[in-house]
């Protein structure tokens, strides 16, 4: 009973739900980004590195004197640029999406660390900026603008995918590129565009970490969030609404483990609680794997005239 009452206390506090929305934000943005790429038939394992570069570049722009929204734009642009690299190698050249993605992650991460160290060679305590402040709204609605942007983008991506010709084209090149080609669509261009747009969203996810959630850039700060987003896309069966749901559910468990960690008072090692998000993602993958309906052309490069 004691345990249940602790859980109930946690669930009834407004601060808990504020934390859930805050924790969910980078997952919402990252999952949306990966979803857009995969809907066009391209697995983007560069997500971890793209988020790192977004986090570093957005923060660095603000640290150098740009305003916060410019920082957000810089992060998105850097994300799109790495997305272009990934797309250039995997779409027209048809290289392995797995290995190219890992390469993009290694490049994004190392480039971020290199630039950070170059600009701030001797920073023992990371320098800080003034991040986005929560809006003056009651209870759990007191979130920073980027959280609201993320929620709005769920609607935008869902509308674009299902209600616009562009979205139809994106879904089509991910399901049956030859049919799309027969309709006069340029498969290569649409795939590259989708990967760039999705990667820009990943850049935003990274920027949220340094411009909203924290006020500095740390090494290893993305900490596997990108990989979790890839699991969330499968869990959401490639649907934006379900992606939001999945990210919120995941954030709920993550916030819960943080509170339980505090409530347990060090009886259990804190690492056990920190493992939960990763194990939970693996469990979610196992649960949905059997009935996952992958985009039919996911990871299959398309070359005109080749079958």
């Amino acid at each position: 009973m004691d345990f249940l009452s602790i859980i109930l206390d946690i669930l009834l506090s407004a601060a808990f739900w504020t934390a859930v929305l805050r924790i969910a934000t980078p997952y919402v943005l990252g999952t949306l980004g990966e979803l857009v790429c995969e809907r066009a038939g391209v697995l983007n394992l560069g997500i971890e590195g793209i988020m790192t570069l977004g986090a570093m570049a957005g923060w660095m722009a603000v640290y150098q004197g740009a305003d916060l929204w410019t920082g957000v734009l810089v992060a998105a642009a850097c994300g799109a640029l790495l997305g272009l690299l990934h797309a250039a190698l995997t779409v027209p050249l048809g290289l392995s999406q797995h290995v190219t993605g890992i390469g993009v992650t290694l490049l994004g991460t190392s480039l971020s660390y290199f630039v950070y160290r170059l600009v701030l060679p001797q920073a023992s305590t990371p320098p800080t900026i003034v991040p986005f402040q929560p809006l003056d709204l009651p209870g759990a609605f007191a979130q920073t603008p980027l959280t609201y942007l993320a929620l709005a983008l769920v609607g935008v991506v869902a509308y674009a995918l299902y209600r616009t010709p562009v979205g139809l084209a994106v879904r089509m090149v991910g399901e049956h590129p030859a049919a799309a080609e027969a309709q006069g669509l340029n498969v290569t261009a649409i795939r590259i565009g989708a990967v760039m747009a999705g990667s820009a969203l990943m850049g935003l996810a990274g920027a949220f970490l340094t411009l909203s959630a924290f006020n500095a850039f740390f090494f290893n700060m993305v900490n596997g969030r990108g990989w979790i987003c890839i699991a969330l896309v499968v869990f959401a069966s490639w649907r934006p609404g379900k992606a939001l749901l999945g990210a919120l559910l995941f954030a709920l468990f993550d916030a819960l483990q943080l509170r339980l960690q505090q409530a347990s008072g060090g009886v259990l090692p804190y690492q056990l609680f920190l493992m939960m998000p990763y194990l939970l993602s693996i469990l979610a993958l196992v649960l949905v794997a059997r009935r996952a309906s992958y985009p039919r052309a996911l990871m299959i490069p398309y070359r005109k005239g080749e079958r």
């Binding site: 290289l95 392995s96 900490n223 090692p269 693996i282």
Partner: protein, 349 residues
């Protein structure tokens, strides 16, 4: 202009591809070095000198290459069978964990018995770690890329937990580190007064052995067949799932051995910074080697040289040593393109 697949890639082209890729990567990263304001040629000169310019530098590079050969082989055998093992980092730590547990003094054995036992324990721990995702893949169709990646984080947290708990060294001044392994469990040094240890001999031996297995045995043939076309292999009567699991044990075992060899040959005890990303660099090593077991040795020496040389260079110049990581990542991407150019012919029209 279009790409036309070659029916057969000549050996010269296969050797030229990684060299071309590395030259391209060095050229691209020269732009970054120039951006820092450092003289590019002098920077690369210092890097080269720091990697192979002295007896000390050379043994350091060989020491660094030892775990990279093993993680490179781990990636190569897995990728050969299209098992995307991105979890070598976690498997390496599991191997190291097994090494400090088995070699930590609970067994009072002479060196000739203890060392092989510790190495086998490390391999077993790494292999079992990859077996989980491999079983999930063949039984439930769960993508192993994501599960192996996520397990890396779980393993690091597990190691951190044990280093602050059950395995914490009581003499460690409060640092999260394990007690050192018994003296009998230590790998002998190859060259006196250097850090170079017998792990290198093990790694070299294994790459030759794997090459023989790959080219001369049914095992190797089956692995390659499953990687090339699992459906065709199944039609030919090969037990595809069992081959997959076998490959997983081998790949994870090689990564686990890398961890055990680092503990018994170099570090002596386990800390959370045992590996500066050897598992991830192993992927680059395997790709540069075009998944060839002997090629892995050359690629590992190159990557090790970059890391050791960049450390020396960044001490003398205001170029952050992360340039090594950028170089490694760029080499991987250039290698992918070079590999494509080697496999295809550019045709007009």
């Amino acid at each position: 202009m279009r790409l036309e697949p070659r029916t057969d890639t000549p050996l010269a082209l296969r050797l030229l591809a990684p060299i071309g890729a590395v030259v391209a990567a060095l050229a691209l990263c020269a732009l970054l070095v120039a951006w820092t304001g450092a003289p590019v040629l002098r920077a690369y000169g210092l890097l080269f000198e720091g990697a192979v310019g002295s007896r000390f530098a050379l043994t350091e590079t060989l020491t660094r290459a030892t775990p990279l050969i093993l993680t490179g082989l781990a990636a190569a055998v897995a990728f050969r069978a299209k098992l995307w093992n991105i979890g070598a980092e976690g498997q390496l730590y599991m191997g190291a964990l097994a090494a400090v547990v088995v070699g930590g003094g609970m067994l009072d054995l002479p060196g000739w018995a203890l060392v092989p036992l510790v190495m086998i324990a490390g391999m077993a721990a790494g292999g079992v770690t990859l077996l989980g995702p491999a079983v999930l893949k063949v039984r439930f169709g769960v993508d192993e890329v994501v599960t192996t990646l996520l397990l890396n984080f779980v393993v690091l947290l597990l190691v951190s937990m044990l280093l602050e708990g059950a395995l914490k060294d009581p003499m460690g001044m409060g640092w999260p580190q394990s007690a050192p392994v018994a003296e009998a469990a230590e790998l002998p040094k190859l060259v006196a007064r250097t850090r170079l240890h017998a792990g290198l001999a093990i790694a070299l031996g294994l790459s030759v052995l794997l090459w023989l297995v790959d080219t001369r045995t049914i095992w190797g043939y089956e692995n390659r067949a499953v990687g090339a076309n699992p459906r065709a292999a199944a039609f030919a009567g090969m037990p595809v799932n069992r081959i997959m699991l076998r490959t997983a044990l081998l790949s994870g075992g090689l990564a686990g051995l890398a961890g055990a060899a680092e503990i018994c040959g170099l570090k002596g005890y386990l800390t959370l910074d045992l590996s500066p990303g050897f598992g991830y660099s192993g992927i680059v090593v395997a790709m540069l080697a075009q998944l060839h077991p002997i090629g892995v040795v050359g690629a590992a020496l190159f990557i090790a040289g970059i890391f050791v040389g960049a450390d020396a260079m960044s001490r003398a110049m205001p170029v952050p040593n992360y340039i090594a990581d950028v170089l490694v990542a760029t080499s991987l991407l250039c290698m992918l393109v070079a590999g494509l150019l080697a496999r295809y012919r550019l045709r007009r029209g």
